[in-house]
């Protein structure tokens, strides 16, 4: 390959790896301090540093939604943000949704509606659905489908996923 000449692709000169940076996150209600390299994604920090492997690495490019977590209550792709950028924030993962032995209503509904087959996308689907319900923009099945389109399911469990979310949405509405 020719040497880069454009500013779009300025190559880093060989240098010792930068220092690790201390980061404090409140993960599922517990304050955790860790030291991460600048390029550590929030996803890798959760899985590799905190051993919270419920959050899945699917595409690692923000296309599949398997890594969806809630940061300060809002759903995001953990693969497309750096852990250092989330310093001081509260992160909720699939491990943080149940209360003791009591599952989150969405977890119950996913089981009841058989809303998964292999289960790999499920933590992301459920965290995304938690975000969707708190956003309160979806009122119909079509709107659920549209606002859940960032979560792919290769097993094709979509009808059951929508049914599960709809059940909880309607129960919330009372």
């Amino acid at each position: 390959m020719p040497q880069s000449t454009g500013r779009a692709s300025v190559a880093a000169a060989p240098a010792p790896p930068p220092e690790e940076i201390p980061v404090t996150l409140t993960v599922n209600g517990v304050e955790r301090t860790l030291r991460v390299a600048p390029w550590t994604s929030l996803l890798d920090a959760l899985r590799l540093h905190l051993d919270l492997t419920g959050t899945k690495k699917g595409c690692d490019h923000g296309q599949c939604g398997a890594c969806t977590v809630l940061v300060d209550g809002r759903r995001i792709n953990a693969c497309l943000t750096l852990a250092v950028m989330q310093d001081g924030r509260a992160v909720t993962t699939i491990e943080g949704l149940a209360r003791g032995e009591t599952l989150h209503p969405l977890q119950e509904a996913f089981i009841e509606h058989d809303a998964f087959q292999c289960g790999y996308c499920t933590p992301g689907q459920i965290c995304s659905a938690v975000g969707l319900l708190s956003e309160g923009k979806a009122k119909t099945a079509d709107e659920i489908r549209e606002l859940m389109s960032g979560n792919l399911c290769r097993c094709g469990a979509y009808p059951n996923i929508v049914a599960a979310i709809r059940q909880v949405m309607e129960a919330d509405r009372g």
Binding site: S9, L80, T81, L82, V84
Partner: protein, 330 residues
Amino acid sequence: MRTFTYSRAGTLDEAVRSLTGNPGARPVAGGTNLLDLMKADAMRPAHLIDISRLPLDRIEDTADGGLRLGALARNADTAYDDRVQTRYPMLSKAILAGASAQLRNMATNGGNLLQRTRCYYFYDSGTACNKREPGSGCGAITGVNRIHAILGASEHCIATHPSDMCVALAALDATVQVLGPKGARAIPFAAFHRLPGDTPHLDTTLAADEIITAIDLPPQGFARHSTYLKVRERASYAFALVSVAAALEIEDGTIRAARLALGGVAHKPWRDGQAEAMLVGKPAQAESFSPAARAILRDAKGFEHNAFKIELAERAILRALAEAAGVEHP
């Protein structure tokens, strides 16, 4: 991902200072496109300056009756803002047509303007791409070019700008407010993104040491007669093959002002003053729309896999204008 160093800017001035004279540094806010490109090795900054906590996230009324969108306001917060939904519904619709709910929660308004093409060759560092490696050639012109440009392309680059939001901002005649080492300046939206020419590595006219601070919307939001229509490979969460922002001002059944911007067809949102002028003074009926639709596409040129976009764009324009006018689409 290659290694890099990281710092967080405490103030906007500090962020500008850190960029000045430091070509390896890039600002990061939402990170949704930049980090993805860094994973693909298509962008290789040596240093990231985190500007995401600077107080540029507000949406405020302006003295002239317009609206100022903070550069760091999230796409989701912008799309769902009451003032945007009421006064600029075409913009809200365009933002919500893009990406996914998760990404819109992360992505900022300034970052949306600066997102880069999704051309497969730009992303694949094993192929030739004049945008990624100036002088290396263009893989797309003779390669797979289904998603590529039909207007304003050059022999060096046929990439398209991927944003939906920017198509609506172009139609609205927004203004981009930026700050650099020499101070602040305002860039008209039409002059913000550029055509590839023989320097396709430059997407915009923003200097490397400038930061977007806000996007200003003028008072005229075309709230009564406007729409954003996006045609894509699947129902949701895909980039546009063709998109249309259409806005009309209608008085007693006659078109008094018209805006038409196309997405997915060029290196920037595509507007054509001549085509828009052809709509003015015409009855707001389906029969009035064809000449303008043909005019905006008069220089369109297809490549091996994307020639279908020319007819697709014409039909999408007719449908969008009918929807904006509130008339039956034949």
